[in-house]
C-alpha cells in the first residue's frame, strides 16, 4: 500500500511545470485537496490573527502605553475577532471535515464536488475582501479603513452616522459572502453523509466524527442564516436608507443584538462540536478502547445542538431585559452544560481502564479535557445572570472564551493535526518537536489566560486600548502579554514541524496509530479515488473487526 503513496509523490514530483501544479490546485474539486486548501488558508490567517493579538497585548502590557493609537487598536480587536472566527476556525474545521468525511464513510468524494470548490473560494474571497479593507476602506472622506466596530458590529455603531466610509461594509460583505460558502459546505456535508455511506454503514455505525459533523452542518443551516439576514438588513440601512437599526426612526439597537447572538451563540457550538469529534476519535485510539457510551455521545450532541439555539440572550444580560427573560436564559444556559459535561465524563470513561499512549495527539487531548472543563465552569459562572452583570464586558469574559477557543478548540485542532497529518502527507510529524510545542504552548496558554480572569474581576472592561494605572491591573496585564510571546514561539515550533516533517519525516504507512476507522485502511496519502473497492462495514470499528476477526465489534453491537 505504501508503494501507492510513493508512486503518487513520484508522479507529483516528476518535473511538471509549477504553473500546471498551481492550476490543478486552483481548479481542483477533489475533497482532499480542498480540505488541504481550507487548512492552509486557515493557518495563514491564524498567524495573521495571532500577530494582531500580539500587537494588542504589547499595547496593553502597561497603562497609558503608546504603541498603537486608539483607532488602530480598535481595528485590531475587530479584525482579530472576525478573522479568528470566520477565517480560521470555520475554514479549518470545514477543511478537516472535507478531508475526512468521505474517507470515513467509504465514499470517493463529497456529494457535490463543484459546490465544494465554489464554497471554498467564496470563503477565500471573503478573507481577501476583509483584509483589503486595510488598503481600500478609506472611501470618499478618508474615514474608515479596516472595520473598527468590534466583531459583533453592534448597531447603531455601524450606522452611516457613526461609521463613515466603507470599513463596516467590508466587514459586512466579507462575512456575508463567506457565510454563503459555509452554507454551501454544510449542505454538501449533510448530503454526503446521508446519501453516500458505504454499504453496511447504517446511521448507528457511523464514526462519531461523522455524526458530529452532521449535527454541526445542520446547525450551520439555521445559525449562519440569521447573521446573513441581519447583514442584509444592515446593508439596506446603510445603502438604501432603511431603518432596521435606526434608533432615530424608532428602530431598535437591541434587535441587532438578538439577531447577532441568535447566530453568535450556536456558532460557538458549531466551532466546538467538530472538536468534540476529534476528541471522540483520538482519545479511544490512544486509550486502546472504544468510545464509552456511543449512543449517549450522539444523543448529547443532538441535545446540545437544540438547546444551544435557546441560550443566545446570555450575551445580553446587561441590556435591561425583564427578570423573567434573564431567568429563562440563565436556566437554558445552565441546562446546555449538562450534555456538555456528560461528554467530558464519557471521554473520562473511555480512558478509564484503558492503556493510555502519551504521544503528542493524546497530550493535546488531555490538555483539552482539563481546559474545556475549566472553561465550561467559568461559563456556568457567566450563566448566573447577576454574576454576569459584573463579569460581562470585562476581561473575565475574554479569558473565558479564549479558554474555550484556545484551550479547547485550538488544542483539539493541534491533536487533530498530529493525528491526521501522517494520513494527509504520508509522513509522521516529529515527536520531539511535537512535545516541545505542547509544553511551550501549555505554559504560555496558562500564563496568559489563567491570569486574564483576574483583571476582569478587578473591574477591567474589554475593548479598551489603554487603562488607568493603580487599579491593580498593571502587573497582571504584563504577565498576560508575556504568555502571548511564549505561545507565539510554540506556534513557530509547530509550523517548523509541519514544514520540516513534510520533507524529512519518517514514512507513516497506512495506519501508524493502529486505529479503527476507514481512512486508515487506505494509503497515506490516499489515492485520488480513495478506495479501489467501496468497502462494506459491519460495525462501528471496521478496522478493529479486520484486525481482530476472532472478536469483532459486530458481535456486540
Amino acid at each position: 500500500m505504501s508503494s501507492d503513496a510513493m508512486a503518487i509523490r513520484a508522479a507529483e514530483a516528476s518535473g511538471k511545470p509549477w504553473v500546471e501544479t498551481l492550476h490543478e490546485w486552483v481548479t481542483t474539486v477533489d475533497h482532499k485537496r480542498l480540505g488541504i486548501l481550507y487548512i492552509v488558508f486557515a493557518l495563514i490567517f491564524l498567524i495573521i490573527g495571532g500577530v494582531e493579538a500580539t500587537v494588542m497585548r504589547i499595547q496593553l502590557m502597561r497603562p497609558h502605553n503608546g504603541f498603537v493609537s486608539p483607532q488602530v487598536f480598535n481595528r485590531l480587536f475587530t479584525m482579530h475577532g472576525t478573522t479568528m472566527i470566520f477565517f480560521v476556525a470555520m475554514p479549518v474545521l470545514f477543511g478537516f471535515a472535507n478531508y475526512l468525511v468521505p474517507l470515513m464513510i467509504g465514499a470517493r468524494d463529497m456529494a457535490f464536488p463543484r459546490l465544494n470548490a465554489f464554497s471554498f473560494w467564496l470563503t477565500a474571497f471573503g478573507g481577501f475582501l476583509l483584509y483589503f479593507s486595510f488598503v481600500g476602506g478609506s472611501g470618499l472622506y478618508g474615514a474608515g479603513n479596516a472595520p473598527d466596530v468590534g466583531w459583533w458590529a453592534y448597531a447603531p455603531l455601524t450606522a452611516r452616522a457613526f461609521s463613515p466610509g466603507h470599513s463596516s461594509d467590508y466587514w459586512t460583505i466579507a462575512v456575508l459572502v463567506s457565510g454563503f460558502g459555509s452554507i454551501g459546505t454544510a449542505i454538501n456535508i449533510i448530503a454526503t453523509i446521508l446519501c453516500m455511506r458505504c454499504p453496511g454503514m447504517k446511521l448507528g455505525r457511523m464514526p462519531l466524527l461523522i455524526w458530529l459533523n452532521l449535527v454541526m452542518s445542520g446547525m450551520v443551516l439555521i445559525t449562519i442564516t440569521p447573521l446573513s439576514a441581519a447583514q442584509i438588513m444592515l446593508l439596506v440601512d446603510r445603502y438604501l436608507g432603511g431603518h432596521f437599526f435606526d434608533t432615530q426612526a424608532g428602530g431598535s439597537a437591541a434587535i441587532w443584538m438578538h439577531f447577532f447572538w441568535i447566530f453568535g451563540h450556536p456558532e460557538v457550538y458549531i466551532l466546538i462540536i467538530p472538536c468534540f469529534a476529534f476528541m471522540s476519535e483520538i482519545i479511544p485510539v490512544f486509550s486502546r478502547k472504544p468510545i464509552f457510551g456511543y449512543p449517549v455521545m450522539v444523543g448529547a450532541t443532538v441535545c446540545i445542538g437544540f438547546v444551544s439555539m435557546s441560550v443566545w440572550a446570555h450575551h445580553m444580560f446587561t441590556i435591561g431585559m425583564s427578570s423573567y427573560s434573564n431567568a429563562f436564559f440563565t436556566l437554558t444556559s445552565m441546562v446546555v452544560g449538562v450534555p456538555t459535561g456528560i461528554k467530558i465524563f464519557n471521554w473520562l470513561g473511555t480512558m478509564w481502564g484503558g492503556k493510555l499512549i502519551f504521544k503528542t495527539p493524546m497530550l493535546f487531548c488531555i490538555g483539552f479535557l482539563f481546559q474545556f472543563l475549566i472553561a465550561g465552569l467559568t461559563g456556568i459562572m457567566l450563566a448566573v445572570s447577576p454574576f454576569d452583570w459584573q463579569l460581562s464586558g470585562s476581561y473575565f469574559v475574554v479569558a473565558h472564551f479564549h479558554y474555550v477557543i484556545v484551550g479547547g478548540i485550538l488544542f483539539s485542532l493541534f491533536a487533530a493535526f498530529y493525528c491526521w497529518y501522517p494520513k494527509i502527507t504520508g509522513r509522521m510529524l516529529n515527536e520531539f518537536l511535537g512535545k516541545l510545542h505542547f509544553w511551550l504552548f501549555l505554559i504560555g496558554f496558562h500564563m496568559t489566560f489563567d491570569v486574564m480572569h483576574i483583571p476582569g474581576i478587578l473591574g477591567m472592561p474589554r475593548r479598551i486600548y489603554t487603562y488607568e494605572p493603580g487599579r491593580g491591573w498593571d502587573t497582571l496585564n504584563l504577565i498576560v502579554t508575556i504568555g502571548t510571546f511564549i505561545q507565539g514561539i510554540a506556534v513557530l515550533v509547530f509550523v517548523t514541524n509541519l514544514i520540516y516533517s513534510y520533507f524529512k519525516g519518517p514514512e507513516a504507512g497506512n495506519d501508524p496509530w493502529d486505529a479503527w476507522t476507514l481512512e486508515w485502511s487506505v494509503s497515506s496519502p490516499p489515492p485520488e479515488y480513495n478506495f479501489a473497492t467501496i468497502p462494506t462495514v459491519a460495525s462501528r470499528r471496521p478496522l478493529w473487526d479486520r484486525k481482530h476477526p476472532e472478536d469483532p465489534d459486530s458481535r456486540y453491537e
Binding site: 456529494a111 424608532g250 439577531f259
Partner: protein, 198 residues
C-alpha cells in the same frame, strides 16, 4: 458524458440511500426558511412602531388575484412533474410553461403594487419602519421567485431541446421542491403582511 449521478444500482432490499439532490434542496430550504424567519420577525416586531409616514392599513391592497396565480403555479408544476415521470413530455412542457407564466404574472403584480405604493402613496424603503420592513420582506420573496423562474426557464429551454425525459424526473423534482417552498413562503408573507400586520 451524462452528468447525472444516480445512486449506486442495487437489487431490491439491498443498501439504499436517499437521492442527494433532494437532500441538498431540503437543506437549502431549511437555510432559506431561517433567513425568511428573521425578516418576518423584524416585520412583526416593527408593526405599529413607525414614527411617521403611511401605515399598512392606509395603503395596502390585498393581492388576491396574484396570490391565486402563484399558488396555482404550485399545482401546475406538481402535475408537470407527474406527467414527466409517466413519459408525457408534451404535457410536461405545457404545464411547465404555464407555471412560468403564472409565476411571472405574480411578479408583474408585485411590480404593479410597488409602483402604486411608491408613486401614489410615497412609500419607499426609506420612508419609515413599515416601508423598510415591507419592501425587504416582499422583495426578498420576489427575488426568490425570480431565481425560481430563471431555473424553470432553463428547464423549459432544455426540455424544448429534447434533453429532459423521465430519467431526469428526480432532478425536476428538486426544482419542484424549490418552487413549492417559494409558494409556502408567500403564504407566510401574505399572512404576516396583509392579515396580521394590518
Amino acid at each position: 458524458m451524462n452528468a447525472i449521478t444516480t445512486p449506486i444500482t442495487q437489487t431490491p432490499g439491498a443498501w439504499s440511500l436517499p437521492y442527494k439532490g433532494k437532500v441538498a434542496m431540503a437543506c437549502l430550504i431549511i437555510a432559506e426558511s431561517s433567513i425568511f424567519t428573521i425578516f418576518v420577525v423584524a416585520y412583526l416586531f416593527y408593526v405599529g412602531k413607525s414614527l411617521a409616514g403611511p401605515t399598512p392599513r392606509e395603503v395596502l391592497e390585498t393581492p388576491i388575484f396574484y396570490t391565486i396565480c402563484l399558488l396555482s403555479s404550485s399545482l401546475t408544476i406538481h402535475f408537470a412533474s407527474r406527467f414527466l415521470e409517466r413519459g408525457n413530455r408534451a404535457v410536461f412542457l405545457g404545464l411547465l410553461f404555464l407555471t412560468i407564466l403564472l409565476g411571472s404574472l405574480f411578479l408583474f403584480g408585485t411590480g404593479q403594487e410597488w409602483h402604486r405604493l411608491i408613486y401614489e402613496h410615497g412609500l419607499t424603503i426609506s420612508t419609515n419602519l413599515f416601508g423598510t420592513t415591507y419592501y425587504s420582506l416582499v422583495g426578498l420573496h420576489a427575488t426568490h421567485v425570480t431565481v425560481g423562474l430563471l431555473m424553470l426557464g432553463i428547464a423549459l429551454l432544455l426540455g424544448l431541446a429534447g434533453r429532459v425525459g423521465p430519467e431526469q424526473s428526480a432532478r425536476v423534482d428538486v426544482l419542484t421542491m424549490y418552487w413549492h417552498f417559494v409558494d409556502a413562503v408567500w403564504i407566510v408573507v401574505f399572512t404576516v403582511v396583509y392579515v396580521l400586520g394590518r
